[in-house]
C-alpha cells in the first residue's frame, strides 16, 4: 500500500532524470558555447519553469493534454500518446518543470571547463559530437552528478503540476507527494508520517551528496 506511490515516484524520477540528461546536454552546450545573441531568449524560456508557479504550468498542460483539443487529439491519433491523466503525461510535465535544474547544473559545469579542451580535441582530429561525448562529458562528471540528483529530488517532490494534470490514479499518477497530501487530508497521519519521513531522508541524502561532490571539486581545484 505505502510502497506503490513511492515506487511510482522513484520510477518517475529515474525516467525524468535520464530523459533530461539526454535532452539538456546539447542545450547546455548550445547555451554555453553558442554565440548567437537571440539565444538568451530561448535560454530564459528553458529556465522559466524554475520560477513559474506550478499551477500555471499545470493549467496550460491540462488544456494541452486534453484529447478534446485539436493538439491533444493529434498527439493521441498521430503518435498514440495519451497524456491526460496518464503516467506519460506526468513524465512530460515533470520534464518541463525539471528542465531548468538540469540545465543550470550542466551549464555551470561546462562553463568552468578550459576552452583548450575543445581545441585540443579538435586538433587531434575528433569531430564535434565525439568531442562532447568523449572529452567534455567525462570532464564535467561532477556537474552531471549534481544535476541528476537535483532533478531527481525535484521530480520526487513535484506536487502542483501532478495534482492538476494527474488525476491521482494508483500506479499511474498517484505519486508519493500526492499520496501524502491525500493521507493528511483524510486524517491518516500514520501513513502520512511514513511518506514524509522517506521523503525527508531521500531529499537530505540528495543534498548531502551534492555538497560532498562540490567539496571534493573545490579541493581538487584548490
Amino acid at each position: 500500500m505505502i510502497w506503490g506511490p513511492l515506487f511510482l515516484s522513484l520510477r518517475l524520477g529515474l525516467i525524468v532524470t535520464a530523459a533530461l540528461l539526454v535532452v539538456t546536454f546539447p542545450l547546455a552546450a548550445l547555451f554555453c558555447r553558442g554565440r548567437w545573441r537571440g539565444l538568451a531568449l530561448f535560454e530564459s524560456l528553458a529556465t522559466l519553469p524554475m520560477v513559474l508557479p506550478p499551477t500555471v504550468l499545470g493549467f496550460y498542460l491540462l488544456l494541452a493534454f486534453s484529447p478534446y483539443t485539436a493538439w491533444g487529439a493529434w498527439l493521441n491519433k498521430a503518435i498514440g500518446l495519451k497524456l491526460a491523466f496518464s503516467f506519460s503525461g506526468i513524465v512530460v510535465a515533470s520534464c518541463i518543470s525539471g528542465l531548468p535544474f538540469m540545465l543550470q547544473s550542466l551549464k555551470s559545469g561546462m562553463r568552468i571547463l578550459d576552452p583548450r579542451l575543445w581545441e585540443a580535441s579538435y586538433t587531434l582530429g575528433k569531430g564535434r559530437i565525439e568531442t562532447y561525448v568523449w572529452v567534455v562529458l567525462p570532464n564535467m562528471a561532477p556537474a552531471v552528478a549534481s544535476g541528476s540528483i537535483l532533478t531527481f529530488s525535484h521530480t520526487l517532490g513535484e506536487f502542483g503540476v501532478v495534482l492538476m494534470v494527474g488525476g491521482s490514479i494508483a500506479g499511474q499518477t498517484k505519486t508519493v507527494s500526492i499520496a501524502l497530501f491525500e493521507k493528511v487530508e483524510s486524517l491518516d497521519f500514520i501513513i502520512a508520517h511514513q511518506y514524509a519521513l522517506v521523503l525527508v531522508i531521500l531529499s537530505y541524502a540528495g543534498i548531502l551528496a551534492i555538497n560532498l561532490i562540490q567539496k571534493k571539486q573545490q579541493r581538487q581545484t584548490a
Binding site: L62, L63, F65, S66, P67, Y68, G72, A84, F85, L163, V165, G166, G167, S168, I169, T173, F181, E182, V184, E185, S186, L187
Partner: protein, 254 residues
Amino acid sequence: MRKNPRLLWIALFLSVVSLLDAQQAIKVAAAANLSYLADQLKAAFTQKNPSVQVEFVFGASGALTTQISQGAPYDVFMSADTDFPQKLSDSGRSVAPPKIYAIGTLALFSIHKLDFTKGLAVLRDGAVTTIAIANPATAPYGKASMEAIDKAGLQDIRSKIVFSQTISQAVEFALTSATVAFINQSALYTKDLAPYATEGVYWIRVDPTLYSPINQAFVVLKAAPSPMGAQAFADFLLSADAQKLFKQYGYLTP
C-alpha cells in the same frame, strides 16, 4: 493643518470611532460544492445582517475537517456530509451537534453530448475514456459517486476513473480533459456552465436511490473568532431565504 489642529483631532477621533464600529468578519469553511452559490448566500445574508462580513474558504470536506482539527480559525463549517462535522462535534470542537442545511444531488456531466438516454450505462461507451470523480476519502460527493457506480453494477468501468481533490476540480476536469464527471448538480446553475444547462443533453441526474443521501450539515465552531456573527450565519442557513436559494441550485431541503 498647522492653522487648524482641531481638524487633525477630528480626523483622529473619526478613525478611532470607525475602528470601534469595525464590522465583524466571519470565516466560513465550506465544502467545494457550495462555491457555486456562495456569492448569493453571502449577498442574502449581508442584506439581513449588514454588520457581519462573510468570507468563504473552500475545500474538500475532509480536508477542511483536518484543518479545523489542527486549529484553523474558522467560525462555521459547512460540510458536504454529516460525518465530518459529527467528528468535530464528537471531539468537542463544535458548539452544538451538526444540523442539516441541504441535501446534495449528484449529476453526470459531459460537454461532449453523450447518449445519456442509456443512463449511467453510458459510461461503458468507447467514447468515454475518462470519468472524473472527487476523491471518495475526502469528498462526500466522490463517495456517493463510487456508491452509485457500484450499485448500478458498473464495476467494470473503474479503470476509466480519474480522481480530483474536490468536487469543483471534477467539474474543471470535465471542462478540460476528462470525458465525463460526477458533479454536484448545483454547479450546473452557474453562469460558467450556462451553455451546458440542458438536462438530458449535457447532464443527467444520477438516480438518488443509487447512493445514500448527501445530507449536508454545518457546525458552529467553538474556537470561532466571532461567535456572534457565526451564530447569526447559522440561523440564516436554516432560514427560508437560504433554503430558497439551496432549492434554486438543485439541492433538496431537509
